[in-house]
Amino acid sequence: MSSAQPGLEIEDAGLLTTVQDTGRWGYQHYGVSVSGAMDMAAHRRANRLVGNPPEAATLEITLVGPTLRFETAMRVAVAGAVFELRLDANEVSTETVLHAHPGQRLAFGRRTAGARAYLAAAGGFTVAPVLGSRSTHLRSGMGGLEGLALRAGDRLTAGPALGVPRREPAAARWRRCLPLGGARVRVLPGPHAGLFEPVVLRRLETARYTIRPESDRMGYRLDGPPIPGPEGLSLLSLGLPVGAVQILPSGGVIVAMADRQTAGGYPRVATVATADISVLGQLAPGDWIEFERCDQRTAREALTGSGLA
């Protein structure tokens, strides 16, 4: 039985490799963070390439990739950030289906674009779901493989492959879409935009910000012109969506990302449009961000072709 189950071993885990899916929804009112893939479009693409449904768990690979050894024959695909890939001695590429034989190694080399890649295996990775999701939330130690980032020696299995692999004719297009060194993202007005001076809001829309080193899956701390909030403002905590642009008392800016807390008490001037959250997921510390105001209609239209539908 067990020998028939597709599986692989992590020989080198890379910088930060975690199991992720579409997120742990439905429990935020109990304080459970959503987590899930930072670039949901790439996660979905990797799954589609191997014939999985979007909810199937993939490996999120961050900045420095892993080396994996296949214990059985497996159909896999890597989407998102572009890495130089080798399947044993053969150069292979991202955004395409790979057929690995037992004993073969997939080694991630130099990264040439983007920040996060997603490795899907036909059948999906089968770590035990926690509250309906396999996503790893490192801070609460939930999901994934015992709530942890993957380490050398870890073994992962995949479920039975059911779906039919899909061709991804636009692979080249996705590679071109990856941000190089920074990105302009569309934002909608946040729930507290009205509490800020218009001149301050202009500043957010005209300045260039840089992602600070301590940024992580929880949020991006930005360097750039401070956004002074109203004096003596004290807000009651409220639900926190992904992409919320929060202003600290110091005027500092934090963008809420996948592992955000379920609620926050900092005022929020803007919220990044869903279509551009995946773009943020492909940015790394040191990359720049510019905010461009848009309306609900533009945000809605941007969903078409975002890879999220």
Binding site: G26, H29, Y30, G31, L131, L236, L238, G243, Q261
Partner: protein, 238 residues
């Protein structure tokens, strides 16, 4: 209830994947009760694309999948529920809340900040404990980590502010005070609240059919126990 009427509310978009229903922005059991009531009713509906309904102190945030959801459908439902719960005849939640009693071993190694809180309150440690245990607390919302309940209101006399330097390691079950709020850390984590005791009861336990002990709207009372009882509860649990 404070009898303030009418109950105003405002519905707005929060980005393109959330709707925000905001009641009067103040820390008030009646305001919060309306949030809890709306959130519970909305969770009972099966609306396409709705992923999460999160009640907070004075707001309800509805998270949805912008590809699948019909925003107008959710807005209409939210307006209806907000108007319903704003009716003068509806007192608070409209149903009895659960009361949960949590045994707490106060002071010593289990409550390392009890002495500091006593200094803040200019009273004995015993009086801090008495003032903390003698009132029922409302669970306003959960957040920060799985099962962490923000409860209030703490007696103003013992409402010590957060520690200036947060602890890196707060043990699970630690009972803390932060100004007028009190809470229990469900799992080991960093934290800045003043720790006055510890409960052997697990607030979050994946092994239970219902992993979360508390929900927004619940009422919590703390019962002082000694070290021996603490050990008994802890042993009995496993």
């Amino acid at each position: 209830m404070t009898g303030v009427a009418p109950w105003e509310w405002e519905l707005s978009r929060d980005g393109d994947s959330a709707l925000l229903l905001a009641f009067e922005s103040r820390l008030d059991p009646g305001v919060n009760a309306r949030c809890v009531a709306v959130a519970e009713k909305l969770r009972g509906q099966r609306i396409r694309g709705v992923r999460d309904v999160v009640e907070a102190f004075a707001t309800v945030t509805v998270h949805f999948d912008p590809v699948l959801a019909d925003v107008d459908e959710i807005s209409t439902m939210l307006r209806r529920l907000a108007a319903e719960t704003a009716a003068p005849a509806d007192r608070g939640d409209g149903r009895a809340r659960r009361e949960i009693r949590l045994p707490v071993c106060y002071g010593g190694a289990r409550g390392p900040d009890l002495a500091d809180v006593a200094r803040f309150a200019r009273c004995s440690e015993a009086e801090v404990v008495e003032r903390h245990r003698s009132v029922p607390y409302r669970v306003y919302m959960l957040g920060f980590q799985p099962g962490f309940a923000y409860m209030g209101a703490v007696d103003p006399r013992i409402a010590a502010p957060r520690r200036t330097v947060p602890r890196v390691h707060v043990p699970a079950g630690s009972v803390g005070i932060a100004a007028r709020q009190t809470g229990v850390y469900p799992v080991v984590s960093p934290g800045g609240w003043q720790l006055i005791g510890q409960t052997p009861v697990r607030l979050f336990d994946m092994a239970r059919p219902d992993p979360f002990l508390l929900s927004a709207g619940d009422v919590v009372r703390f019962d002082p126990i000694d070290e021996a009882s603490y050990a008994r509860v802890e042993t009995g649990r496993s």
